[in-house]
Symmetry: C2
Amino acid sequence: MAKKKPSTKWRSGCPLNASVEILGDRWSLLIIRDMVLRGFRSYKEFLESYEGIATNILADRLQKLMAHGIISSQPDPLDGRKLIYSLTAKGIDLAPVLTEMVLWAAAHEETENPGLVRQIKMDKKQFLAAARRRWTESVRNDRRMLEVTKEDERVSRENRAGDIKSLV
Amino acid sequence: MAKKKPSTKWRSGCPLNASVEILGDRWSLLIIRDMVLRGFRSYKEFLESYEGIATNILADRLQKLMAHGIISSQPDPLDGRKLIYSLTAKGIDLAPVLTEMVLWAAAHEETENPGLVRQIKMDKKQFLAAARRRWTESVRNDRRMLEVTKEDERVSRENRAGDIKSLV
DNA sequence: TCATTTTACTTGCAAAATGCAAGTTAAAAA
DNA sequence: TTTTTAACTTGCATTTTGCAAGTAAAATGA
């Protein structure tokens, strides 16, 4: 499932340190946020998000998140130029980290999006359950789409075979 | 209470972005961890922690954490070379962020300190309550120590005054 | 009391990460 | 079949990080 294990050689064995080494930069968690909370799935969407990430940094972060097994990618069957990025189970498990960081900043800094904050405060568990449900749905949906695509390919292969036969 | 407001000019108003701009580096949260979980309070202790932070980076991070009102510092009344760093309320409020990051890494990476992880998993609320209790205690204790020191100074001032009088 | 040690830094410099602008390539749309 | 679009890559300047070596003030030891 995971793409590749990064050379698990942490500065220390402390679990917090592992988190910080993987996620401790100014962009990774924002990409995760866009996926968990806003359902973003493509390079273009991430690029056009609020904070304005640079193209090379985005490409680098997507690669690293994949290397850490937090996201995965597949070609879009409907548009060959696109890659569809998905959260893995490891990725959606970051939702509680996100929500706590949102609550902390909302409590101590001047921030926007009071609707989001209110929702989390009102019922954190339900908020997380909803996020996970959306994720489960999208995984199911991707699988379905993949099957349809495979079927399409099978049919088109048969058609080509038919064409060739008709040429003989 | 807070030292100074940093020029609140975020890349975006999203609360998660604020958190990431303040805490999104490879060291800040480790310093907070050392304070919340291990009770560290001096430059030297932070310096000797597991991950081996460089002296200049540590000085820089301590300054930034102070500028953000996450920690504060006071001279050690028992040793004039030392500064005692303390978590502010804003600082101790980061405990839930820490615990979620610990749980995430423990679930998905090879890490050590299973005792800590077991404790958090067993009863997260109680774990956080204990961390906060330790913090409240240390705040109370600091205040007490400060008063004792002030009394000492008053006495020593009187003694000096007495000495001067005795010289006249 | 006077040299030594300790604490909390600073400074200088090399290496790595970040950010911006300008390509590039393959696929889709007009 | 020309033009757009999506997802990058490249080059280069700026910033951040990390290491090693100071420094100043206070405490400690002889």
